[in-house]
Subunit: 359 residues, 2 copies
């Protein structure tokens, strides 16, 4: 086994989830991540935790969804009972063909998502970590050789997370104190939003591995302006290209996309909250220096900002502030490397990808 | 996908487990059984049941066991909670290298077994089915081409189970009414046991697929004589060859094996019940016409008898009769095709593999 796989498992078990003796652990993994699952079992055995592994299998999900009636999507009571007794969840995403569920009707995916909501909410109360095992399919999506992709993935994860924490803390503090944030990029992106009263948060390797962003939630009805997303978004295997949103009073009042506009429309029509922003994230992991079309990585990349329509993030929204609730949370990315800046309360804090505090 | 895989899934869902709308379903499968899992999801989607899939991964179990301390094997509370809320369990065995856990110390396997007992007992109260997906590894174990092995497996499963039921019912009735059974084969096997008061049972495709045996439980202290098992038994990847047991007053008083005698000893030393017989089974599936070293198949083969040391079978032991309790249930096979007979209350019911009622 590649020693980097063992190191990855060690980071996940010891640092990210801080697994302890007797912890009940769930792993969700595709078959392509076999080596990582074996390495996790070895680590978990050493700690004395008790794992089970769920197989993520796209072709099975597809076959099931096509055969199923949307009204039969009730909550999986056995999966909910298992989650209630679980302490730690490792979600290994990517791995296989990401287009495997492309031909599932969105109505089925939405029904599945609604039925899954109680399990998701239960999971969010656990120690959970989302990560990626580098596979040939992941490399293909990134248009890289498998070996180069592996290097990118492992370099982005095996780093000094304490130093990364401190680097990001500078931006978190700015967001924490901020009243208004403005994102400007090129000719089509000029968005302002209030973050007054919201908390800045530091993503340094606990719930996402790799990590690397400072993030907060906008005040739902405060967002004004327009944004063009520079990077395609993969949504259930459907690539939404050149998405464009126009906000008034916090709501999307106009939208377009060069490709799969109907999929974008489906997202925005999920519920009321899906037309508002739930997250503003600022990528700060300089080891991720290219797009891989894996959102876990892309949104952490230095020189990017991401905005999510849909659900806000609990740790960013203090009691008493309005929480944007939604069944979806869909991240979209703006490239900030050129002709761009982030302004906080009138001061430019990042220009063309370089933070003020990096100078 | 091979149409026989779809048919296999259909048999499992419709006939074996009789899955209904809203049923919570667990599948346990190795990655080699991917096609069968996809086919099961399709069937379960049509029915409107709700599946989760656990990944059976030998190398992970091995790595875990080697790293784990035996005293840390506590019951997986999350798996138990899931099982309690489950209606149907499909266990897909075989598939990968069966020797994957050969180098796990027996003490670890025993500790894992004890910790798993509450989950196993819960599972036995559900609708559960054990089956096999034919893979290259399974074919290798059977010393067959993969294509020929597939034919053997599917022919043994896709048959008229009602007719098989009726065929077996003749032997079940004999066992049901029997007082004493004697098994004679070659020069070394001559075993008598009482089955008075025990029930005969018919294995016709509900819990094992393929099925094909009539079985009962002996009265625990009644077994007398000797038995040489003609076929090797694979126990956690260790092949026990030419096992020989001598019984007095129902207990094993002497034993030997040409290979892995210490593994046989470990089984017999598990607990008090492991030194007594829990099952007498008579193979009656004529579509299984050769050994494949997969117990699910071998024990169903016509011309064989199997005896299990360890736990008796609940449906065979009426209230008031002594139930042989044990943490193990290990089947071993006697070839009855030559120089052999089964005698019930003084009448020969099978000679050299041919049943009296087949003549």
């Amino acid at each position: 086994m590649d020693e980097r796989v063992r190191r990855h498992a060690e980071i996940l078990v010891e640092f990210s989830a801080e697994v302890e003796r007797g912890d009940m652990v769930q792993i969700h993994a595709p078959k392509e991540a076999e080596d990582l699952v074996v390495a996790l079992y070895e680590q978990l055995g050493e700690v004395g935790a008790r794992p089970t592994t769920h197989w993520r299998l796209g072709p099975a999900s597809r076959a099931y969804s096509l055969a199923m009636d949307a009204e039969d999507y009730v909550t999986k009571e056995h999966a909910l009972a298992e989650m209630e007794e679980t302490d730690v969840v490792f979600l290994i995403i990517g791995g296989g063909n990401p287009y495997e569920t492309t031909d599932v009707p969105p109505s089925k995916s939405q029904a599945a998502g609604r039925a899954n909501k109680p399990i998701l909410e239960e999971r969010l109360d656990k120690r959970w970590v989302i990560t990626t095992h580098p596979t040939a399919a992941g490399a293909q999506e990134a248009e890289m050789s498998t070996a180069a992709y592996e290097t990118l993935v492992y370099d982005a994860m095996d780093k000094d997370w304490q130093a990364q924490y401190e680097h990001q803390a500078q931006m978190v503090e700015i967001l924490d104190d901020a009243e208004e944030v403005r994102i400007v990029s090129g000719e089509e992106t000029d968005l302002t939003m209030s973050v007054a009263g919201m908390r800045g948060a530091n993503d340094y390797g606990k719930q996402n591995m790799p990590a690397g962003e400072a993030f907060t939630s906008p005040v739902p009805d405060s967002v004004e302006g327009t944004v063009r997303f520079d990077k395609p978004l993969l949504r259930q295997g459907n690539e939404i290209v050149d998405a464009y949103l126009e906000f008034e009073g916090g709501e999307v009042v106009d939208f377009e996309a060069a490709k799969n506009e109907d999929v974008l429309e489906g997202i925005l029509d999920t519920d009321e909250g899906a037309r508002r922003l739930g997250e503003l994230g600022i990528g700060m992991n300089r080891d991720i220096d290219r797009f891989t079309y894996n959102m876990l990585f892309d949104e952490k990349m230095g020189d990017t900002v991401h905005l999510a329509v849909g659900a806000a993030i609990e740790e960013c929204v203090p009691g008493g502030m309005e929480f944007n609730d939604s069944a979806v949370h869909v991240d979209m990315i703006v490239d900030m490397s050129e002709d761009s800046y982030i302004e906080v309360d009138g001061d430019v804090v990042q220009r063309d990808g370089a933070f003020r505090f990096e100078e």
